[in-house]
């Protein structure tokens, strides 16, 4: 049975503890099956590609939702998998398929994010919206509030927070991906964390 991340301390305060097994980046790939299906899909086998989709789409969709918000997430998910299908010939198996696919997704989402940032009508998240943060909440409420709070972060801080704290990239890697200095990535991360802490009070 899954252990709740919200623990009651001796002083009665709630705290959130790390549950390693739930970290998505550590969900193991079925690497042999992936390699076999990727080879079949590269040869045009759509059924093999669907198996890859079934195994990997929840992680990619989670990333899409957090980076772009749900209205654009399904469209982005489709683009990522269509793009992956077309690039399968370039997948040589020197990394896990999940890792390769994830990079395809990140690259695509960063492109979308940059294009969207140029559209003021879709970039209305500069102000941080407050959510109810007080009162008792159960684990599900806490998690839902936290997810909503992530999606309300300003664009830059949201991307850095997701890439660093959720996905485990370094500031140097993030700096290269977002075309910013590592110092900017660090300050954006701190800004994001300072904003999000209010939702866990």
């Amino acid at each position: 049975m899954a252990r709740s991340p919200v623990q009651q301390r001796d002083d009665g305060q709630k705290e959130v503890v790390l549950i390693e097994l739930e970290r998505p980046a550590r969900v193991p790939d079925d690497k042999t099956q992936d390699l076999d299906d990727a080879a079949r899909a590269a040869g045009g086998d759509v059924a093999a590609f669907e198996r890859l989709y079934r195994r990997h789409s929840p992680r990619i969709y989670g990333l899409c939702c957090r980076m772009l918000g749900e209205p654009d997430a399904e469209d982005a998910l489709q683009d990522v998998f269509v793009r992956a299908w077309r690039k399968l010939a370039l997948f040589r198996g020197d990394a896990a398929f999940g890792t390769w696919l994830y990079r395809v997704a990140i690259n695509h989402l960063l492109g979308r994010r940059a294009a969207r940032a140029s559209r003021p009508e879709l970039n209305a998240t500069n102000a941080v919206e407050r959510l109810p943060a007080s009162g008792p909440r159960d684990r599900v409420d806490l998690r839902v509030d936290f997810e909503r709070a992530i999606r309300r972060l300003p664009e830059g801080a949201r991307a850095v927070f997701i890439l660093h704290d959720v996905e485990g990239y370094t500031h140097e890697e993030i700096g290269e991906m977002l075309r910013v200095k590592p110092g900017t990535s660090k300050s954006q991360l701190h800004r994001a964390r300072m904003t999000l802490r209010q939702y866990l009070r």
């Binding site: 969709y61 957090r66 269509v82 793009r83 992530i150 927070f161 802490r197």
Partner: protein, 189 residues
Amino acid sequence: MTQDTDSERSASGACPWVSRLSDHIDGRLDPGTDAQLRTHIAACEECESTIAELRRVVAMARTVGPIEPPASAWPRIASRIRSGAPMRPAWLRMSMPQAIAAGLTLAFGSGALAWMLATGQTEQRLPGPEEPTVAALEANLASYDAALAEIEEAIRIQPDDAYLRRHLEATIEARADLVETAARLNLAQ
């Protein structure tokens, strides 16, 4: 709270050490600064409570999980890959003046190198991580950055131009692909 801390407070009233707390959590402070901060935290209630809250945020981020996509997603993907429909054809249909204005020729040049690297064609032509390879990568990254600056400037002037937005998206993605390919090439050597 120490007297020193009070005297260091910014105009907003926040303790100046608060801005260093994330670096402390992530172990990125040098040992001397980290020791100073630890001493400070012991005497500063604001930093003590803030750091506890930041640790909860970091822990919560690690519990964020996958999300099951809508059932409608796969049939649409299957339809698109079976029909061979292009994902993003519009920017390929840009007129030459638009393309030149947006630095498309640079993107194509860099894209060609990225394709060569990705398909291993350079492995026969280049002996390894030699200077010409590195120089070519750096030159192409610089080309992408210059192209992106041009596109961003063009978008600033014509913010409603859908072609430019799609081109920006494609160029960002192509640049990221080049960086990824270069990293893979480097690891393979």
